[in-house]
Subunit: 247 residues, 2 copies
């Protein structure tokens, strides 16, 4: 499993991801799921990947090779983020189909499918985030739905719904993403550290700020402690039931 | 969908449930999923139901008829809560099998399956909570896992993991269950009000305290407001990133 999310606010985009991959509970490894493709001044793009690791690695390798080979199209020539999403969706679909028969023969249910989030900005266009389905089609976020999630999305959703708005600062959105990841990690062992974070400031067209946090990092330890204590305080202030007041 | 949960603490048991049932998004109705079977002084039992409504209604009706008919066994003659879980599991299994062929003919995936939580106390025994699977087998909670959930369980789990311990007071456990239900309701439209709550005090062998909360009830409104504000406060106190401190 995996948990990745992207949050688009008025001032930019926050990307966050866990790094655990597994094939069964007895084969757990660490792989980055965050891939940055930037050509400063022209475009700054981030791809978050979930699903079959062989498929997502093949997709990332193909994107890189196409850029190096100046293939047409490649991620550095697409004019809109939607073109880029279509291009990546087609690579993903082709890669999945290549192995579909073998997966069917093996009776594997999960297959080679992959779901991805692409976000960033191309010069002359606004910043955007797009979710690319295994089928290759895609949806973008909207002002009413300013974030996208892939993988194990449920545990970390309530906090996003309560905090994130278009006016949220990038740093607050990043903190919220970290809390969302932390809650998910506690609930699902297949989501694990290190946690990766990237922050893209709108119209900078520069590489995003990137940080990788181990579980023992002072920031994560301090975030966990502060959030845990804050929840306890919030909990203690909840209203009493009618029969408690009369006691 | 449904969300029900039971929390066992050192001093008793809290039961909570939503009341929404649906067959597709265009056919939404309200049904209680909380069923109390009490014989004061001898036993006090609560059954929470999720899954196919026809199956769960048939199970509840059969339990009631068996009590009235003084059938052997019935819910008022079982000596252990585990016997009661086995008895209910068998009724559920029988009811599902009765319709299995018809569901298969119709190509329906979900089928007639039902998952339930049984909790309470029988005189001379400790209080317990048990989750009954569609297959009729069951598991009980443990000191390390003091709560059980059925239905849409993920959105409301993080808060339980952070607050609930064996030493939590019954009222705090009930407040936590309400927050857990509220978070789930916000995230999944198929979980909806009114919210039902039952609190059983260990060794009372009396009917549990019961409350039904509409969304507009002063308690729920106050709980939502207080929790929302508490989360915002906790969020504002989270640590800054390294680059924020240097700004």
């Amino acid at each position: 499993m995996t948990y990745c999310l992207a949050i688009k606010t008025n001032t930019g985009i926050v990307f966050a991801s866990d790094s655990r991959t597994n094939a069964g509970v007895d084969y757990i490894r660490t792989y980055s799921k965050m891939h940055v493709f930037a050509k400063p001044g022209d475009r700054s793009l981030v791809l978050l990947t979930s699903g079959n690791l062989a498929t997502t690695q093949a997709v990332v390798n193909t994107i890189q090779n196409d850029i190096e080979d100046e293939a047409k199209p490649n991620l550095f020539t697409c004019r809109h983020l939607h073109d880029a999403a279509k291009y990546i969706g087609e690579i993903s679909r082709k890669e999945q189909l290549r192995h579909a028969a073998a997966f069917q023969d093996a009776g594997a249910n999960a297959g080679a499918s992959a779901t991805m989030i692409l976000g960033g900005q191309i010069a002359g266009r606004p910043p955007e985030i797009i979710l690319i389905y295994p089928e290759g089609n895609y949806i973008s976020a909207s002002p009413e739905t300013p974030y996208l999630q892939i993988g194990e999305t449920k545990y970390g959703k309530p906090i996003l719904d309560r905090i994130i708005a278009n006016s949220t600062s990038l740093e607050d959105a990043a903190r919220c993403a970290m809390v969302s990841l932390d809650s998910t990690m506690r609930a699902n062992l297949s989501v694990g550290p290190p946690l990766e974070l990237a922050i893209y400031r709108a119209d900078s067209l520069e590489k995003p700020i990137q940080r990788v946090f181990k579980l023992q990092s002072p920031f994560i330890k301090s975030l966990q402690k502060s959030w845990g204590e804050g929840l306890q305080r919030a909990f203690k202030r909840l209203p009493r039931f009618d029969w408690e007041n009369s006691q």
